[in-house]
Amino acid sequence: MIPPPFQYYAPTSMSEALSLLQQHGAESKLMAGGQSLIPLMKLRLASPNHLIDLQKVPGLTTLEERDGALVIGAMVREATLEHSPLVRQRYPGIVEASEVVADPVVRNFATLGGNLAHADPANDHPAMMLALRAQMVAIGPRGQRRISVDDFLVDTFETSLAPDEVLVEIHVPQPAPHSGSAYVKFERKVGDYAVAAVAAQVTMNGDVCAQAGLALTNVGPRSLRAGAAQQFLIGKRLDDQTIREAARLAGDAAEPTSDLRGPAEYKRAVVRALTARALRKAAQRATGGAN
């Protein structure tokens, strides 16, 4: 399969990238790792006339804790996240999400920014970022702005980025003491998108839940926050009964459609099962002392 022809640019500064975006507008497409975009172009489902490759733009590969947040540059590769001791220790949910993106070879080029900006409801990171209440940092001709992940994810393949803006960083709030996160995905086989997946984050205060984040992958037009389930958990001990009820509420929050991954009602059931698993895992991490 052969992609249609296009002009290629590899800007070496953000200002150059932004001016290219302005110049070519809707005819152009930004490329991060290209692991979703290039197959789409080969299948001729995407045919940008101008391809702007971000790999030479400096400053997009940050991975550090700064100002109360884990700051991840948009061009940080999945494999880097997967193997980072810092992320592994303090943000296990992000590692678990990275580990199930496509397959290990694809992850060597795929990026977090690409995964989020593609806004595919089947992608794994958006739900994890919802659960962790991350902030997206974008740069455009009008300067830099922060967007909460809830506002960032608009619809299938649609973010709130303006056509002339670039996603540059993802800020994940540092976990409070006694916090834990987890991402649990059920896929038909390795490399597949999720039948459903659940991202969970909890912060414990003694034996009750002080804060909770719960979000769902591939069971709606975009990654979904399970708001009622989150709310239900606050102030409760995370016993079996509570977790089951939260799972039921998370299942209700799903908006699945029937397809080759199964009937809608089945996917809702999987959301329930995975919610329970993700919450148990996150709670264990929260109370196990490992944040």
Binding site: M1, I2, P4, P5, L43, R44, D103, F186, R188, K189, V190, G191, D192, Y193, V195, R244, A247, R248, L260, G262, P263, Y266, A269, V270, R272, A273, L274, A276, R277
Partner: protein, 788 residues
């Protein structure tokens, strides 16, 4: 005795590997010829439509595009249609109508691969959609649209009816039966998806008139004959067979999908003849998945009759076979449903009756194998599932029911109720070994304990009998060509040899195993023997590699050719040893004088003499050819046990262990046999749990890429366990049976039986494959077992 000679039973490292591990294989797409053009294909978005116009002007205006070929162009040369291997017809390119989605509509010939692809995007085709025929049952309704109105003699989508066995006696046994069990089973469409897709480079030399086609084919000789016959009927005029050379180079997996003649091969060949340039055509994966031949698609009603004491008395099967838009299977011509009537399996029963009806639908043509010998997978699935169903009905252990009904070893050769003569078998021996090795009794105890706790595990057994090695010339032919196979051996003066065979490897390791046969039969070192195949200019005529037939047919031919050489060599040895040929015996891989084994000559000694010092009156040289017509088929078998655990949250089936005990008779290379079994098991697991091709109500394929057609990775595939018993074939020259497909045939029912076993206490009696998580989860929910 001669040192380092011989070959049987040795895990010789593969002779083909040194090139593969260096990236020096020679696959079709690796070939580049001077002046070579590239072909890419415009395909139909509709399953059924009238073509109202094809406008190629924009494509032709693209620099580098040299031609756009349509069905009308081919029709002018009488090449728009071609015969299938089942004597049906199939469009090469349509003149005015498409009959399946992704059907070839036009071909763009260009100087570059990328330009050809751009040209395809510029060809404008207008379609008028027609109502598609998707469901094979509805296809038989007299009001259904016709898929093949070109068959003027037919006013129906029904292709053929075929039956086998004794209907009257079977019906009578069913009427008298104490117990009857029945299930409807659907084996879905699946696709072999070898990692290399199909393709060719066709090169017609206008000066010599010679056509050379490098092609991803499992059967180069048959293709050569078909090409010659097709051109004879065309306006191009016959290309005589000696001016056609089909070369099947290294093939990146075949599994049956590279047996048929695909339109792309024919169009590329026509393009080369018309342009005088070599033309390369390589499918991409979507084309391969959407348009190439598929396997299975059998809707089976299976019934088994028996007595309360567990004695099986009769089997009755009615099947609807969805063949898509053409009957383009590669079955022997007398067997439209292949060898499906071997479905009485490993069990002695009095009678059986099998009916199959072939149906046209608006889907790609075919009904090829998926690593199986002519519908044996379907047969084994039917019997192995229904035997389990009977055990469930009678509340007896499925192993015990099998043991009670196995054809006992002393009954071989065994004449089956549908007419096959099984050569040899010891089914109870294989099952006993499998049960001991896996710890069957302990596993049943574990299962009972788990069930009491609400946990779900299942134990599945399959004790299959295969039927391979097609086949005897009195019954087996493809397009009239008898299904013998061949070998030619030349022993060189210094004791090395070249072997050329009529079959063709797609990864099975023929260059190694056939060298081992010659090494064994002639007492030469394996290293001194080279095996060539796949080139019709040099190899003797053969029907090719599929249906696990290489070892039973060409392997036998190789041994027989070697024995012819040995016979002549014996006379030369006698001459060298100054003894009478009657006093010479073959032993310890050498010729020795009876009673005086120190007086001996090696084959190398004899070979040198054959060219330097041969007896007066004898022809010089040492070579032979053999065309082997097998007296019967061979019947490999096995006992497989699969252990599954079920995730009550997701419904996922996890294979915890899978043990395969295989019996393929005598083994040439145990390492290669084990590798074949590992691969076969994986291709058996795939359709049991993951792979299926489905269509929506408009005939749109729903699995057009590897994102939805789910080939198992290393993570889904368990660590296969294997063992073996050995029951040689009594009629094969060295007692071998063939093994390439056994595991693909045996694994699916073992897995299906394990899952049904895990759920049997809930009243579940059958699940169609692929057993998806949601099918299982639905059952768990119905019984309050789904976990949150």
């Amino acid at each position: 005795m001669a040192t380092d000679v011989g070959g049987y039973g040795r895990s010789v490292k593969r002779k083909e590997d040194p090139r593969f591990i260096r990236g020096k294989g020679n696959y079709v797409d690796d070939l580049k010829l001077p002046g070579m053009l590239y072909m890419d294909i415009v395909r139909s978005p509709y399953a059924h439509a009238k073509i109202t116009s094809i406008d190629a002007s924009k494509a032709l205006a693209l620099p580098g595009v040299l031609a756009v070929i349509t069905g009308k162009d081919l029709d002018a040369y009488k090449l728009a249609w071609m015969p299938t291997l089942m004597s049906d017809t199939q469009m090469v390119l349509p003149i005015d109508r498409v009959v399946y989605q992704a059907q070839e509509v036009a071909a763009v010939i260009a100087t570059e691969r990328y330009i050809a692809a751009d040209g395809v995007a510029l060809v404008e085709v207008d379609y008028e959609p027609l109502p598609p025929v998707v469901d094979p049952y509805k296809a038989l309704d007299p009001s259904s649209p016709l898929v093949r109105p070109d068959h003027a003699d037919k006013n129906t989508n029904h292709i053929w009816h075929w039956e086998s066995g004794d209907k009257a006696r079977t019906d009578q046994l069913f009427n008298e039966a104490e117990v009857v069990v029945k299930e409807h089973m659907y084996l879905p469409r699946i696709h072999v998806s070898s990692i290399e897709t199909c393709g060719c480079v066709a090169s017609f030399d206008r000066v010599s008139g010679k056509l050379t086609v490098w092609m991803t084919t499992q059967a180069p000789h048959a293709i050569r004959t078909v090409f010659s016959l097709v051109t004879a009927a065309s306006a191009v005029g016959q290309i005589p067979e000696h001016k056609i050379r089909i070369i099947s180079p290294d093939i990146g997996g075949g599994f049956g999908g590279k047996v048929p003649v695909y339109p792309g091969y024919v169009i590329a060949t026509a393009a080369s003849v018309l342009t005088g340039h070599p033309v390369k055509w390589i499918e991409d994966r979507s084309e391969n998945l959407q348009a190439d031949s598929f396997a299975r698609d059998y809707h089976m009603d299976v019934e088994l009759a028996g007595k309360r004491d567990g004695t099986i008395t009769a089997l009755r099967v009615k099947t609807l076979a969805d063949h898509g838009s053409a009957d383009a299977a590669a079955n022997p011509s007398k067997f439209p449903a292949g060898l499906f009537n071997v479905c009485t399996g490993s069990y002695a029963m009095e009678a059986a009756h099998v009916e199959v009806d072939g149906v046209y639908t608006n889907k790609p043509p075919g009904g090829v194998a998926y690593r199986c010998s002519f519908r044996v997978t379907e047969a084994v699935h039917a019997i192995e599932r229904i035997v389990d169903r009977m055990a469930q009905e009678l509340k007896v252990d499925p192993a015990a029911l099998r043991m009670k009904n196995f054809i006992p070893p002393e009954k071989f050769p065994y004449k089956s109720p549908t007419g096959w003569e099984y050569d040899s078998g010891n089914y109870a021996g294989a099952l006993k070994l499998a049960m001991e090795k896996i710890g069957y009794a302990d596993l049943r105890r574990e299962q009972a304990e788990k069930r009491a706790r609400g946990e779900l595990m299942g134990i599945g057994i399959c004790t299959f009998t295969e039927i391979v090695g097609a086949g005897p010339s009195n019954t087996f032919d493809i397009l009239g060509i008898k299904m013998f196979d061949s070998a030619e051996i030349r022993v060189h003066p210094t004791g090395s040899a070249i072997v050329r065979i009529g079959v063709q490897s797609q990864g099975q390791g023929h260059e190694t195993t056939f060298a081992q046969i010659v090494a064994e039969e002639l007492g030469l070192p394996v290293d001194n023997i080279v095996v060539e195949h796949g080139d019709t200019d040099t190899a003797p005529y053969g029907l090719g590699t599929y249906a696990s037939r290489s070892t039973p047919t060409a392997g036998a031919a190789t041994a027989m050719a070697a024995r012819k050489i040995r016979e002549k060599a014996k006379a030369i040895a006698a001459h060298l040893l100054e003894a009478s040929p009657d006093d010479i015996e073959w032993g310890n891989y050498q010729f020795q004088v009876k009673g005086a084994p120190t007086r001996s000559k090696t084959m190398a000694d004899v070979a040198f003499a054959a060219y330097t010092n041969h007896p007066q009156g004898m022809e010089a040289g040492l070579e032979a050819v053999d065309y082997y017509d097998p007296p019967n088929l061979t019947f490999p078998f096995g006992a497989y046990i699969c252990i599954v655990d079920i995730d009550r949250g997701t419904g996922e089936v996890k294979i915890r262990r899978f043990l395969a005990v295989d019996d393929c008779g005598n083994i040439i290379n145990p390492m290669i046999v084990e590798g074949q079994i590992h691969g076969g098991l994986t291709m058996g697991m795939a359709p049991a749990l993951l792979e299926a091709i489905t269509y929506d109500e408009n005939g749109n394929i729903q699995q057009g890429t590897f994102m939805d057609y789910l080939l198992p990775t290393s993570m889904e595939t368990p660590a296969w366990e294997t063992d073996k018993t050995c029951t040689p074939s009594p009629h094969h020259p060295f007692g071998a049976k063939g093994v390439g497909e056994s595991a693909t045939v045996g694994a699916p029912p073992a897995i299906a039986n394990a899952v049904v076993d895990a759920l049997s206490h809930l009243g579940v009696t059958h699940l169609d494959i692929p057993i998806t998580p949601w099918k299982v989860h639905k059952i768990l929910e119905e019984h309050g077992l789904a976990e949150v």
